[in-house]
Symmetry: D2
Subunit: 242 residues, 4 copies
């Protein structure tokens, strides 16, 4: 399976604290554990030619992972349209944390994807609410992140096909932290954790979720529907009468 | 309840057959039976100032009904954005027939909304598959339209919150003809029938569905969530330690 | 609209603390605010003839509210079957708090309906996650109950048609506290709050939710499908050939 | 993966026509193509000790396939309860055709599971409506069965988690022919085709669907939630005050 990790890659270059946590970028940290899982992993960033979202890369991608935060508006609309068409054609998409506000996610959801947030480094406890889903395999009934950014409801998304995780935050909020969707022939998974100032992507449970999500989202042999004008498959009485 | 019917209003002016069926426009035919139901009805068309989608009209609208076919691309992107924001803020939206390809519906769905079609005037039988839903009140277990345009699966939409109707077509296809969605604080209903060359909007069952859908989609007292940066509601241990 | 409130009515008779909170029973407290809302309200308890679940009562009921805790197994299986058939035929059902373990709820869900619980009188904050749903009308973005029993995930229910509320508990858990389902022609709403030792049913927000839920669950004019052997509506080629 | 095929096995013994189509039973025909797919396949019938549903067999089963028609009421309630508990604990369940009326399916759905039917040997065309789902892999956009029993809507089931197939019938009906559900930690797939008097289980597309469904329904490593009384994970203010 071919996974491409796309990262905006700004905080790591501009902020010492972030760089010290993710010296090879958030994409580098994610790439490492996905390679160990046996996936064929590629990384791309906003600085790459065509912002790393050229047609060739997308066509060689089964699952695209997306991390972005401060440069959502810099991503080219044509690139976003290419990504969207690939998702609708069957490429899996995993949107992480602040990617909730990316053009691609808002575009596929049709809503504002707005939410509450607070950056106080509070505790997050992530509960599994759908234990039959393959993305939850290998987890306990909950897992904790000692310090994370808070995201709180109301999260302005379409009601998920399946809600897999709900987070409890120390400061009093809750959040639907793992949500699945189908769009066209593609599968989408939104996963909340991963603020850049915390070592969240080194957490074993977070890694398990992302690894499982890659397997779930890959859909190599989807049906190819025919759209547009179609011949009748059965006789139509009105025409037969003529 | 205040219902605004927006109609592209082109076929009726350009085609004698369509005009003879809908002499006051498709919007006029729909307005008539909705007025009889006691709703406060307004009509708007593409020819109106600001394409009939000015902020004032939208703010005075509880439910917007949308019929369009050949001029989807002529509708101004700013107008579409205004409609979208109003839906997300709580206005109901009923999209009819070829409105499946409108900018507003594709925008809110996030998919191509593509489908099969055939214009052979075949029989359509619309089965109720969710008899507990308020939109199906007053119907029998199915109703028929003697001649209609065919729309066939695969219909490229997100899986509906509720699928209310499935159509059987004489030529061998099926179609999810009544689909509900929530987006933001607004409710959306897609209803398939209504090709301009057939007197579909005079059908009593079709009128029942649209009337019920207006009542369902109106949502006058939705919750107003707060988005953005938020103060903690509970003490956060890490901060207390400082 | 005719609402019947069914209460096991044991704690109130056996426990002084509960009786002092609900001197006329939990059913009495709920009846009071629903009468003020203009509904035609009836109450029934386990002590009534046929356990208060006779066919006559059920046939005169549009929405049945169910509170029970310690006597689930005493409810007669024939009575449960009558309730179930009425729900499937269109009667609304609102299941409160510990009713999650009632025969009728488990029967309609098909799962164990098991959960975590703790009776420490902790704070519960109930967040609205579906602000477009009629059951959330009139609420703020959350409301609090200063002391309640904790119910925690995993809650072993089918994934709800719509998840309306998620609770945050002081002790660290979350819970899907408002869930809607369709079963047959009936609508079902599960609502978590209401432990007998707290004055929860006097809370204005809780009352708003139950009142809204009655209006949502009432479905007076559902479709009547025909089941069983059916004549063909269209000619079948194989038979025509004979 | 360990698949157990449970077949009532009556028609094949009592009816010459059915026996000539399925000389080793419907279970035998299904076992053959699943063995070729590399699964570890076991078959059980109503005549086996403990009706083939002993605890040992169930514990050795990852996915249970169920075909039954005329002897639903003969299946022991204790056996059904064992199957149900295994599904809730994570065993996959594939219910075929007339299994819609089995105790196990009705029990897990909570509804009557009633439907329309007609045995005229008419054409069925099965359309894919969810092309991103793994159960549809390897199919075209539809497939046909030249002669089948008709099942028609309204099918009295809970709204599926995902509706994968919709059937068009020559006689004028439609049917949701492929439906997925989660119950507890188990996954359930209902698949319509397979009347005993037609060679449906030799059809390549039908075999593809059942094979895919086995892979989808197997869930070897589900989360194990803790239910019942639970200690608090965070300090509770009211208790701290004491």
């Amino acid at each position: 399976m071919r996974v491409t990790i796309w990262n905006e890659y700004r905080h790591e270059k501009e902020n010492d604290q972030v760089r010290s946590i993710y010296p090879r970028g958030i994409h580098g940290a994610i790439a490492e554990f996905l390679k160990q899982a046996g996936f064929a992993v590629t990384t791309r960033t906003l600085e790459d030619p065509e912002q790393g979202l050229d047609q060739g890369t997308l066509e060689q991608t089964d699952v695209l992972i997306w991390w972005a935060h401060k440069a959502h508006e810099e991503v080219n609309d044509h690139a976003i349209e290419r990504v969207k068409q690939r998702v609708l054609a069957g490429m899996g998409l995993i949107v992480l944390h602040s990617g909730h506000f990316s053009k691609i996610f808002r575009n596929l959801m049709g809503t504002t994807c707005d939410l509450k947030w607070r950056q106080d480094g509070e505790k997050e406890r992530i509960w599994v609410v759908q234990p039959s889903h393959p993305i939850t395999r290998g987890l306990g009934e909950y897992f904790e992140l000692p310090e994370e950014e808070m995201y709180g409801e109301h999260f302005d998304i379409p009601e998920p096909d399946h809600t897999l995780f709900i987070s409890w935050f120390e400061g009093g909020e809750v959040f639907r932290s793992g949500c699945t969707y189908n769009r066209g022939k593609g599968k989408i998974f939104y996963f909340r954790p991963g603020h850049e100032t915390y070592p969240t992507y080194y957490d074993k449970n977070v890694q398990t979720v992302i690894r499982n999500a890659c397997e779930w989202a890959a859909a190599p042999s989807a049906v190819v529907p025919h759209y547009g004008k179609s011949e009748a498959l059965e006789p139509i009485l009105r025409l037969a009468k003529k």
